[in-house]
Symmetry: D2
Subunit: 433 residues, 4 copies
């Protein structure tokens, strides 16, 4: 989590203050639930809440240097501030009851913040897809011109992918919104499932089915995997922008703002730096998945090896992804599209990209597919080598004209016909949840 | 996919024959759908099916050495075998229509095979959890004795985790059961969404919302992530078996069969080799996630970089996981449990593991938590250093006896009371879907 | 290790036969060394060698199904074949003495085979770099035209990178050529360092400094990291070929052989499929690094979790990399280069790529750098927007002509001057070891 | 890089101030070299140095918000502060000349700081290995008692591993201490190799053999791999401490300081939290390797996707590893060792761990190895099942006594004999560089 790539909401979310506030929220919710159960004197939590405690992270750090235990340091500090009532906090609980439940709250909140940003990107992709319903560009496979497409369809493909990513992220949010108040080894030795259920409900969490000392870490691994899948979708989008903006392609480019400079050496440069940045950050988010998976196999009822991983990677992965989503949304919103360049490029191969239609017309006449293929490939390769326009070469090839009339040849080159389904496909992406 | 770790069903599933059969199935399903749409003469597919073609993988390989294109080699071979009707196959289609749809069929089938094995493991865990509802063992955090537990609860924790993994795997199966018949760049230039929908339905697949030349690879990445999450759950289980079987712990061990030898050098050895093997294989399955994520950002309408990754990792990850699940199920079914050793270990610390109850009894008397902590820690550390049994040290400590009666001290050491919720927790895991 | 991506030498190297032969070689080398030390009757190894045993892997597998221990199965089989002398084999040894020493032999052999292939690629890059010493192409940063280059320099960059990869691979080979004959926990309880040193020397290995039951796995992790670094270099090369072959760029392309077909649907296609394949395979090789690192922290004197990882990933990573290197060498050797297309592309921006020289000429006149930058960027952006050729716009800008004479402006556009150092740089790469 | 895991030197090293100071150092070194070459007026650098500029990171950030280019923002700020002489800075250079050369300086400095910490850990391991030359503990494979060892030998194994890691880190430092001053696309269009060599020498760097716009990223990937290998060695050490400290094993434990608290719930706990933390952090450091490998294949002469990865992971990986090394050194220095517990555990199996010697004595009498194995395994398994002490069972087994005298049986149980080589092995580790 470096300032450069951290949205303000995430700097707050992962601040020491927010962490300790979340701890206190868990303790107070637990205290209330214990009051109902008769474990703790009624009114304790209310009196503590009324104090509106302002925790001092640096004081907690100072105490931790002695106790070498962060939750004990926190409780000691709360006792300092709040007086005798505080002794009822943490009753029958273990540190992980606080840590894991509050971590779930923060991760769920991070997911919510991420979903807001996915929504913005989804909206932008949808709008631009509609805008470019009729914009034609050349489809490429292997970087080689293939067959024509609508640019709106390409954007709709990214839209559909981002919606899938959103569904997975929602699923991961549901899986991670799980806490525990089951005590030292998950046995509820000094508490009860009912107390846990009540306290967690206050926090918007469900209880872990069978906790150990901690909430099971497969939930967290699933969460990080969902983040990486969002990032991978952004990476695909950014990769395509980089291709579109290449000097030789020049079909679309990132908005270039007043005062912006592309290179310290070369004043002529306008580089797709936002998209390249997104590709790099996708690697960073992706890199959190394996450590999260390694964290699952904790020893017995838990070891604490996962903790340092999560302290570093949870803020990093969520805030970096949030930054990516904001940047990607801005990129899509501001993307400068050059339909005339798309057209110019589409014409580059002189119609060779209509070869499949010719092939199929030949098959329709009864020619075996592989024989038809040889005829069409021959004309295409001669055209590639500069011996004339593809369509002309076909029209003057007796093997072809023996089979295809001028009309059937024309049919193979009819762009509107080839793209007759694009609206339906775009609508499909727009309509998905 | 090495023979050692490949169940027979997976050797079949990923054989060249199965692959080419799946390709043919896609071609025939597509042909039928095109007949309905009037693109292909009615009866073509039926006549081709009637021929009951037996494809020869080695012949396809031989043709591919010339064409350097596997699907064209396949089609050429089918034409050789089936004669003129074959020219209608692949009409308006691109290779990826065949490859991706058939790959989806195989991945869905692999998921089904995996789910059967997860079911077996889930059943085994459930049965053993019920069997050990009342078996007491020491709970450990950080490898250090914490508080007592029921062994059935520990197994229920693994059960709940494996059920979560199963739900994710089912979700991934649904996401991957998606094909395409949208042609070269996904535009349906020579086909239609209706033809695609009909053909894919025959194969048990849904259509890709917006295809490029290929089905979007975020689906595959999500699939591999789901596999890794199953493997991580198995790894946690296997890690615990390794701990239980340690010489000094000896609470449970892998079944040791007649004739088995633990070491070539040391005839006395009985090693948890199955569990260690599972831990290693979890690393292998986990290692497929990042390449699958790297595959997502294909260039433009596709490049073929994902193909080699999937050729290697899809068989490897699915069959290795299947092997793991079989082995894990057998391990749980045959696990030899030593309740008396669990009891002996539980007694090792002379009751120090009841310290939390004492702490809470002291807090109940009005003592501040951190002061109570110091009292109890003092007795525990003296006991740890060999100065007597923990309970005796407490009973003879005037600071303690000034506050706790014999009865309230006894309450802190009441095992049945501490474990009163274990049945409810176990049932929770058993009842989950 | 799938046949598609496995060179014949690697299929042999990792065959069961080769593995068992390597085991026998270790046993016999150890036996000889023990004869010298008086532990085993003189002549035993010679008599066993004279038998020229032909091991039967399927028989060993059958025995292993009972013993569940592969080395014991192997020894039992050798005893079956060789008779009483065989009882002296494995004297005082543990399985890992055999397994790890023979694995080191195989990994060193794999490294040798890989180095032969790196040499071929290095040679090809060197030859093509010399061939294209004077071929000019446009340098690109961010995919955007930057400043001109020699194509030979670009290839020299790949050459230098591949030589670095080779040096690392040689280093990894030296690190992995380490065995052990230190017995069950590395204590030489029944052997001696002298016996070990002599036996390993026969096999071309050095002894592990301090063995546990196994050779330390950080050596293997370092080996896999070295493989991934070779693969990453190949990936960079392949990525560039993919860019050069793009339809809009078309500066170089993979050799397209007679009979080759680019697409099942589109007969006009010529795709950079070899390069894309190399990019995919680099992901596979890279994916072996993390599991190898996870293998390092074996428990106590060893656990066997590393074994399954290595059984799968060692053959996979080495043979896949060997395949990659062969393919990459063939790619470079056969790369079809289009200098005229390089020139055509270089001219696309109408000289804007000489902007830096203009900037520096302006600075030389005493203008502040950022002011000069604004002047030059202004002309470049106007040219980009279609308002004229960059050089003309400069020549007609009074702010520029007030400072630059026609001669000094010309100097900024002098290609030969800008590239005066390219030969020296190319030679630097050619001369490195 | 979170405060919790960041040593002060690394917080400084990766601060904005240190970064900009390193940039300025590169610019001034380049300026001096250009003065010698006659490109820049003599005395410029000296006058600029004499100004002792204090750069203001926040001002640079503010400018960057307009230029969207960090190096241009930096240069603009320097011009603001230093006046007209500053226009000679960056002459003929590109941003990456500054960025990559200064990054190399910082990474080399980080490596130096890491090496100091590796030295401390190496020293600690060496001292403790000498201290425990004669301390006997049970060697374990698979977590199961195998054969006895000296604890000093175990520590010597970690020592040798850490020395290997140190050698690799030194190698990586040499590989990364490479800069460039070759201009926009590495062509030295406006500079020369001689200027570069001189400037970089001032900074302690060698020139890149063939630069693109950047220093080749395989160097950085090799660097991160070297870090991960150090971390993996620490992880193995920490894993072993965790095992030694388990309640049932209790052979060694982390120092427990006054005031430390093991658990918020359970006052009796003393947990190996430092070691667990090290295991988690090793995952974090390891996770930087794959992104670094992904960074290698930059497009053409460079794209900027690597930059964000390095901004996040270079500080993270180096400082986290530095923290790990400090913690690991402290852990080893303070490790509390319980030789009597080691002895007590060694006796747990009643001598079964001497089984190999008995096996070999039987083989020496002419018995086939596998027959001898059966005899010894039989006694071991009966002893395991509680039917008596292993040695007694052997002494009363007529099949054994028919072959072994009391003396030869005793030889198999002679601990000092079995461990006669341990001093030599320990010395081997101590003597290595």
């Amino acid at each position: 989590m470096i300032p450069r790539y951290t949205p303000a909401e995430f700097a707050d979310l992962w601040s020491p203050r927010a962490r300790y506030d979340a701890w206190l929220a868990v303790e107070l919710a637990a205290c209330e639930a214990m009051e109902d159960a008769g474990l703790v004197p009624v009114g304790t939590a209310a009196r503590l809440r009324a104090q509106e405690l302002v925790l001092d992270p640096s004081r907690i750090d100072a105490i931790e240097r002695t106790t070498k235990h962060d939750v004990i340091a926190f409780l000691t500090h709360v006792e300092e501030l709040a007086g005798p009532d505080a002794r009822w906090l943490h009753f029958g609980m273990t540190s992980s009851d606080v840590l894991d439940s509050s971590f779930a709250v923060l991760l769920a909140r991070a997911a919510d913040q991420l979903l807001v940003r996915v929504d913005r990107l989804v909206d932008a992709l949808g709008r631009r897809a509609i805008e470019h319903r009729r914009t034609t560009l050349m489809g490429r496979s292997h970087g080689i011109h293939a067959e024509p497409l609508r640019f709106g369809m390409v954007l709709a493909g990214h839209l559909a992918e981002m919606k899938r990513a959103r569904r997975r992220l929602r699923g991961a949010r549901a899986e991670i919104a799980v806490g525990k108040l089951a005590g030292a080894v998950g046995s509820y030795a000094h508490l009860s499932p009912a107390i846990e259920a009540k306290a967690l409900a206050t926090l918007g969490l469900a209880p872990e089915t069978v906790a150990t000392q901690v909430v099971a870490r497969d939930r967290h691994a699933a969460y990080f995997a969902a983040l990486a899948l969002v990032a991978a979708g952004v990476e695909r989008l950014a990769t395509n922008v980089r291709h579109w903006q290449r000097t030789e392609v020049a079909e679309a480019e990132e908005a270039f703002t007043v005062g912006q400079k592309g290179s310290s050496a070369m004043p002529h440069k306008r580089n797709p730096v936002l998209s390249e940045n997104l590709c790099g950050l996708a690697r960073v988010v992706r890199a959190a998945v394996v450590p999260a998976l390694e964290d699952v196999a904790l020893w017995h009822e838990r070891d604490i090896s996962h903790s340092s991983v999560e302290r570093m990677l949870a803020p990093d992965a969520t805030s970096t992804l949030a930054f990516m989503l904001e940047r990607a949304a801005g990129l899509v919103e501001g993307l400068v599209v050059y339909p005339e360049a798309m057209q110019r490029n589409a014409d580059l191969t002189g119609g060779r990209t209509f070869s499949e239609g010719v092939l199929l017309e030949l098959v329709r006449t009864g020619l075996a597919r592989q024989e038809a293929y040889v005829l069409v490939q021959r004309a295409a390769m001669r055209s590639f080598e500069g011996h004339g326009a593809f369509r002309d070469l076909l029209a003057s090839d007796p093997d072809v004209t023996a089979r295809l009339s001028t009309e059937s040849l024309a049919r193979a080159f009819d762009l509107e016909h080839l793209l007759r389904w694009s609206d339906e496909v775009i609508d499909r992406a727009l309509e998905e949840p």
